[in-house]
């Protein structure tokens, strides 16, 4: 499992965005929005599955609704994985 810290999860998100070949993935920061990355709902399904697999969590559709930035996904992952760092 990748580091369960804000920086660790952020890097995991960048890695997955890179795996699905999103341009600019390596420069994604916590305040980068999906819109800026041109990540659509189908891309997000792939990203969320990767986070669920990596951190052994389950992200519900309701929890996903307000997730609009990379930081939102990182914070949600940390919360569900039991860390509030």
């Amino acid at each position: 499992m990748a580091d369960l810290t804000e920086e660790g999860v952020l890097q995991r998100v960048r890695d997955e965005l890179e795996a699905i070949k999103v341009p600019g993935a390596e420069n994604a920061e916590l305040d980068t929005t999906w819109e800026e990355l041109d990540v659509d709902s189908l891309d997000l399904v792939e990203l969320i599955k990767a986070l669920e697999d990596e951190y052994q969590i389950v992200i519900s559709d309701d929890e996903l609704k307000p997730v609009e930035t990379v930081g939102d996904a990182v914070k949600l992952t940390l919360k569900l994985a039991g860390t509030t760092a």
Binding site: I20, K21, V22, P23, L42, V45, E46, K49
Partner: protein, 397 residues
């Protein structure tokens, strides 16, 4: 009805991924068929195809190989027609792009992931990758055009039906420009096994249409595309005219799902309907690009139908499948590119692999590239499983 011209061509094939290189290879008798490995069947892959020439890596990942081929062929044709910067009204551009099967390699891979790992392993892009209208949708997005678009599917006759639909679209004024074509990418385990189990594939791994030793087809992959355009529209924008689409004929065998009607009735009807639609006589036809699959049934029955329809007149006949194998749903479109280019150049491509013509195939075989200056009219035949037949009539400009 409006006259329809061809202003662009595109191709992805086992012998070239650009129309002139493709035709040069056909005329030179080059083969794209590679021998079997690991106990599989011989096949004709579109080797050298690089999807990233036409799409971003991100889009390539979300596009089945059949869609990647379609985008390449469609964009090649679009650029050759000079449409990239022609300022045509995007609402007057339509797309008819077919496939026999759809995203087969995606379907096969995803089934494996599904059975192994369950629903979570299924890609959210699966549906939009494998659906048979994906190619038409992808092209509309990539070209930014808003006219009518859909897919047609009639197995190995798909490409010819797509061109027929596009011809009607332009003739009836539903669009001024149409991207017409078809694509197939099925070189994977399941189709290989299934066609093999049917006895349709050549056990010897040789494609030799009309040869008395023929024993089945060799599967190939690729895509073909033509830009069809109302003549008045093409002339007004100063486009270079490559040739014309002057007729389209279709028919049903209503006989058997995989075997052609032994009398050749369906094949003959398609050719007759194409001639009627073109307002042409059999004696006008200089060349037939045959369906010629290299299966025992098709080639004998198609030959008989040609003899019957042409009744004493003997147009030159060749099958492109001797060199590139059978591209299934893409065959009609790729062979349309060969046919229109043959008329443009006044050169007929030969039937690869044909050395000992079957006495049951008594037609004028093109054994080596043949010059036919001034040839005016050609038919391109395609017959599909399900008994669906089509013949497209092309004319020199």
């Amino acid at each position: 009805m409006r006259d329809v011209v061809v202003t662009g061509r595109g191709v992805v094939s086992p012998v070239g991924n650009e129309p002139d290189a493709f035709f040069d290879a056909l005329a030179a008798g080059q083969s794209g068929i590679v021998p079997a490995d690991d106990g599989g069947a011989a096949e004709a892959p579109a080797s050298g195809f690089d999807p990233e020439t036409w799409q971003t890596p991100r889009d390539v990942r979300k596009t089945d190989r059949y869609g990647q081929f379609a985008i390449s062929a469609g964009l090649q044709a679009w650029h050759e027609a000079g449409l990239a910067d022609a300022g045509v009204d995007p609402e007057r551009v339509g797309i008819i792009f077919g496939t026999g099967i759809g995203g087969m390699t995606t379907i096969e891979a995803t089934y494996g992931e599904f059975f192994e790992g369950g629903p979570r392993e299924v890609s959210p892009h699966f549906i939009t990758m494998m659906m048979s209208n994906a190619a038409a949708g992808l092209l509309a997005i990539q070209l930014g055009v808003y006219g009518p678009s859909w897919s047609v599917s009639s197995a190995c006759a798909t490409g010819a039906h797509a061109i027929g639909d596009a011809l009607r679209m332009i003739q009836f004024g539903d669009a001024d420009v149409a991207v017409a074509g078809s694509s197939e990418a099925t070189l994977c385990g399941l189709p290989d096994a299934a066609f093999g189990r049917m006895g349709a594939l050549s056990k010897e791994g040789v494609s030799r249409p009309f040869d008395e030793r023929r024993d089945g087809f060799v599967m190939g992959e690729g895509a073909g595309a033509l830009i069809l355009e109302a003549e008045e529209h093409a002339v007004a924008r100063g486009a270079e005219i490559i040739g014309r689409v002057v007729g389209f004929g279709a028919s049903s065998d209503a006989f058997h799902m995989a075997q052609p009607d032994k009398t050749g009735r369906g094949a003959a009807a398609a050719m007759r309907n194409a001639l009627r639609s073109a307002g042409a006589e059999p004696t006008d036809v200089a060349y037939i690009n045959a369906h010629g699959t290299s299966t025992p049934f098709n080639d004998a029955i198609e030959s008989r139908a040609i003899v019957e329809v042409f009744n004493g007149h003997a147009p030159a006949v060749s099958s492109t499948k001797g060199q590139i194998g059978h591209l299934l749903g893409a065959a009609g479109a790729v062979e349309a590119v060969a046919t229109i280019t043959a008329l443009q150049r006044g050169v007929l491509p030969p039937t690869g692999g044909l050395e000992q013509p079957d006495p049951e195939c008594e037609i004028d075989h093109v054994l080596e590239a043949r010059e036919v200056p001034g040839a005016k009219l050609a038919l391109s035949n395609s017959f599909g499983f399900g008994g669906q037949n089509a013949s497209v009539a092309f004319a020199a400009k």
